[in-house]
Amino acid sequence: MGGTANAKGISYGPSPNGKKYDSLDTHRGANPNKSQWTDTVTRDQEFEIFCVSDEKIWCCDKGHYWSVGNPQGTTVLGTKGERLAKFPKTQNDSDPWHGYPVSPRLRGSDDSPSDHFIKQWISAGAISETFGKRLLRCSI
């Protein structure tokens, strides 16, 4: 796949629905205060995770996109054990998107899609019932 280096990281795109994406250095070790992708998730895979979310329009009512490494949640995405990825809504439609691993357990509902969204995910088979319930309980 491969992206293009820019001042903030690596640029990718377009995604299936025409979005640009930046894999930011700040979530790749440059800023330890921000959540970090684990080394086992490459930048290319980070973009793929975003593409899945974009293709399936896993967008919550706040405009953020969400994704997972796999339906069972067995893929660890972040250095703190995060298994969920958040792609916050951009200010302008043409801005490149970015994302980072999140954990409802570590940061509560700020780092979780709504319950309605999670239940839709379960119903659609996007995530397993077990993974979904753990997200609803904020236990992972």
């Binding site: 067995t74 054990g81 509902s109 019932e129 319930k133 753990r134 609803l136 904020c138 236990s139 992972i140």
Partner: protein
């Protein structure tokens, strides 16, 4: 430790053992009431050489702790025979798929309208269902030969993640909505007050009891202690025979980490950033660090003084990865990780199940089911009974006591 497990394939959400029955909640709040006696009888038919163990293991764990039984197994031949029976039963039921409907006593619709059941408990005969759409309760007539469940009643609107109940009080943890308590839920104290939920904290993911005090987990690593007041009664109340009833919960709490220590030298100072998970079984707190170490702390109450942390000791090492839930059985701690269920006992760590689970439940407040673990997965229901096979050797002090 030996683990004897029964597997019931099917689509279930949760299960609970209570008053001689296995209560299994399925999809759309469908309740199956299963007779433990029928299961034990069937197991005795399957493995006649193991009689009477099925009853000891799946109906009457209290018989195993009974002084008469303990006296009996001081005879090594009898103890060895028991362990042999356990092995025989474990081998016979291993990989057998049991049909839950074969042991069915009754089945009914609880009519609770939710999408996802997140927790359940049964206290004083009342079933509490914590769900994404709130808390429901359902009264059950246990005295009938075939139990009869009444229609579920909605008690709380916000999403409920966890419930705990004792001393006549029911607590619900509702995440960022907070911790709520219904004191004197069954009007044992005849206060005649309307049953309202007292909001104790702004965040809660779990609660449990530490002696008479209430522990609130504002996240999975931060326990806070609410001091309470209780009254000892001249008689007992309710199915659980409560003699001590809660009368009041303080409005403010104190972090467990801010409690004074009784022995400066014996206490490990935990950096809160290094803690992965904390849980308590009454006054014993278990701490799992991100580095994979387990520690045990005890909270000690000395009359007219604030509670103190009396000791901290390392109990196990090298379990990497986050814990999702931890519970207690007579012989140790049951640990849910992302993709397994483990038993941490004085004999080390034993794997109970190697798959992710929907719900897991133990029954430390019961008399009869303290060795039993009910595990629900997407494949079905596992009922496991833990048997301490060290009865054949010198009696050891249990790591976790009884």
């Amino acid at each position: 430790m030996k683990v004897i497990q029964l597997f019931f394939p099917g689509t279930f959400e949760d299960a609970f053992l209570y008053r001689g029955r296995l209560l299994v909640v399925g999809k759309e709040s469908r309740l199956k009431v299963v007779s433990l006696s029928k299961i034990a009888t069937y197991l005795e038919t399957m493995a006649p050489s193991a009689i009477p163990l099925p009853r000891y293991l799946f109906m009457r764990n209290d018989w195993l702790a009974d002084p008469q039984f303990q006296s009996l197994i001081r005879n090594s031949e009898i103890a060895n025979l028991f362990v042999k029976c356990v092995d025989s039963l474990a081998t016979r039921v291993k990989d057998v798929e049991l049909d839950l409907n074969s042991f069915l006593e009754t089945e009914c619709q609880l009519s609770a309208t939710y999408d996802c059941l997140l927790d359940m408990t049964i206290y004083n005969g009342r079933i509490y269902l914590a769900s994404d759409s709130g808390l429901f309760h359902c009264d059950v007539d246990w005295d009938r030969q075939i139990v009869e469940a009444k229609r579920a009643e909605k008690r709380f609107d916000a999403k409920c993640i966890h419930t705990s109940a004792k001393y006549g009080t029911v607590n619900i943890s509702c995440g960022t909505e907070g911790l709520f308590s219904s004191i004197d839920e069954f009007d044992f104290q005849s206060r005649g007050q309307e049953h309202t939920w007292k909001n104790l904290a702004q965040k809660s993911y779990r609660s449990d009891w530490c002696s008479y005090d209430l522990v609130n987990y504002t996240n999975y690593s931060l326990p806070e202690l609410f001091r309470t007041k209780h009254q000892k009664q001249a008689k007992t109340f309710g199915i659980e025979h409560e003699r001590n009833l809660l009368t009041e919960v303080d409005d403010s709490s104190i972090s467990l980490w801010n409690l004074p220590h009784t022995q400066k030298t014996a206490t490990t100072n935990f950096n809160s950033e290094a803690i992965d998970y904390v849980y308590n079984a009454n006054q014993r707190f278990f701490v799992h660090t991100k580095a994979g170490h387990f520690y045990e702390l005890s909270v000690r109450y000395i009359q007219r003084q604030d509670p103190k942390i009396s000791k901290a000791r390392s109990i196990a090492q090298n379990h990497q990865g986050s814990l999702i839930k931890t519970l207690t059985v007579r012989h140790g701690a049951v640990i849910e990780t992302f993709d397994s269920v483990l038993l941490l006992s004085s004999q080390g760590i034993t794997t109970l199940l190697s798959e992710p689970v929907l719900s897991i439940r133990t029954f430390p407040q019961s008399k009869q089911y303290r060795n039993i673990i009910a595990i629900t997965t997407e494949k079905g229901l596992w009922i496991q009974s833990v048997f301490d096979d060290t009865i054949t050797s010198a009696r050891q002090l249990s790591l976790f006591g009884t």
